[in-house]
């Protein structure tokens, strides 16, 4: 019984790993094609070829600015919104939460055409800050949800003590509540960061100059331009671009004690 389950799992796991095998092998194969094969002469030439400022560092820096910016905006706005939602009971509470929930359901790709139109109207095209605010809004409903759930688990007694001392609501939030939910906020930050890091469609439409485009978009043009030749470099680039989020995910999974803390956080 247990053996059967293990065997079945291993087969499924292999199926999931297979498409990634090509990525790993091709990246160290200077003569890579689309077939998965053991490189005849493994080398880091592909990595060396993509480790240039224009190709890798600038797009990665842009990805970092976009993702970190998105995560910070999310965190600030979500903490502010979650505080009253978690601490006050009001008749606006539930409708607002349901509206937020409803917002999580909106297919973001469907609003890209109108968002592009909106950006033209407001003259925000090709603006990194505006793109950050938009990307933050797309993940905001989820961030508010998660933050509220984390905040709910912070005991109320400490806050009451602070109020007794005459601290204002926001001061209590900053000095008492937030330190207690540091770990939860870390999860929200990383969760949003990972989403923004992988986002292709939004910057593809909203950011036009090459100097502002994140790695997701530059790897796409790289593929379009060199696709017929440079498979190995494409794989190397993809790996370098993926490493940061893989590391971040591991941090969340480890740091919270279980590999699936993320799911717990989501569930509330």
């Amino acid at each position: 019984m247990r053996f059967g389950a293990n065997a079945a799992l291993v087969v499924i796991g292999l199926c999931f790993v297979l498409p990634l095998a090509w990525l790993l092998l091709a990246s160290v194969d200077p003569h890579a094609g689309y077939e998965t094969r053991w490189p005849q002469s493994a080398s880091l030439a592909n990595f060396a070829a993509v480790l240039t400022p224009g190709l890798l560092f600038q797009p990665l820096a842009n990805s970092f600015i976009l993702s970190a910016g998105t995560a910070i905006v999310n965190l600030v706005v979500a903490v502010l919104a979650a505080y009253p939602l978690s601490r006050c009971q009001s008749r606006f509470n539930k409708p607002f939460l349901y509206a937020i929930l409803f917002g999580t359901s909106l297919p973001v790709t469907a609003i890209m055409v109108p968002v592009y139109g909106l950006f033209v109207q407001l003259q925000l095209l090709d603006s990194m800050p505006a793109t950050i605010f938009f990307m933050a809004t797309t993940t905001l409903p989820m961030a508010i949800w998660m933050t509220k759930n984390f905040m709910d688990s912070v005991p109320l007694e400490l806050e009451e003590a602070a109020w007794m001392d005459g601290a204002s609501g926001l001061a209590t939030l900053r000095r008492v509540v937030m330190p207690l939910m540091r770990q939860g906020l870390g999860v929200v930050f990383i969760f949003v960061f990972i989403q923004a890091w992988g986002n292709f469609f939004v910057p593809f439409i909203l950011l036009l100059s090459t100097s502002k485009q994140p790695a997701a978009v530059s790897v796409f043009s790289f593929f379009g331009q060199h696709g017929a030749i440079a498979y190995g470099e494409l794989a190397a680039f993809s790996i370098l671009y993926s490493v940061p989020v893989l590391v971040l995910y591991t941090v969340v999974a480890r740091g919270s004690g279980s590999a699936f803390a993320l799911s717990g956080a989501m569930k509330g």
Partner: protein, 308 residues
Amino acid sequence: MAVPDISQRGPLGPGPRLRGALRRGLRWLPVLPSVLLLALFMAAPVAWSFYASFTDAALTGKAALNPQWVGLDNYARMLTDPVFPLSAWLTVVFVAVSAILGQNAVGLVIALLMTRSGGATASLVGTAVVAAWVLPEIVAAFAAYAYFSQDGTLNQLLGTFGVQGANWLYAFPMPAIILANVWRGTAFSMLVYRAALSDVPRDISEAALMDGARGWQRLAFITLPVIRGSIATNLMLTTLQTLAVFTLIWVMTAGGPSNASTTLPVLAYQEAFKLGDIGYGTAIASVLILIGMFFGAVYVRLIRGAKP
């Protein structure tokens, strides 16, 4: 990308009677930035989408300068456009097979298998499944493209069994993007079901075991009913996520060959940006938004219904 559970309410603040109405109003002030952002970047585009879908707005040509109100023309065009019904159908197939059947069922199976397998195996396999999900969208799409391409891994594998592979992306574009989406998205369902199954009280299933219930009976009559709330929410969320998939399809097939894998998001992009027909593109986008809203409303109802 998550399974919020509205039934768990936060601890209540100090009784409302203790504070004046003004003070209470002030306490809601921090919600304002989120409301503004959501209004500007979510509600406004949705409203603009519906508005623009009644015009002939375009990227180039005379209509770019002076968009005209064309009433329901764009919607009427959908009915005569041979691509739109095809595209709507492909979207249904894509969502039904890859999200509802694929991700959901595979995720549940993996989670169930994990409850009865060794910890090391479970965490290793879990990592493999999650890796595809954590990877940036475009990297996952490239990997899937390579996997299904003519000289790709899949055909190599089939070759070792003596089976002549096909050019999957060309000959079977829908199965290819469906499998790719299952590969990429199953982790989410797996995480949800793992969490849900860990909440199923042991004694329930053990009691059933004492009664001599077989494995599948326990699953059908005990485990599944207990986690039905999670199943429902997971179904909704995977449906909505799959409805919005663009990058995966765009990189793998770009909607081809001959529109054989053009789902609605791809069609909206092509019409609006490739052909410059913003009016028709937003009309298609509006249909997508309406579908999303419908599922969103069902989803909210489900969660409210599940509340004790």
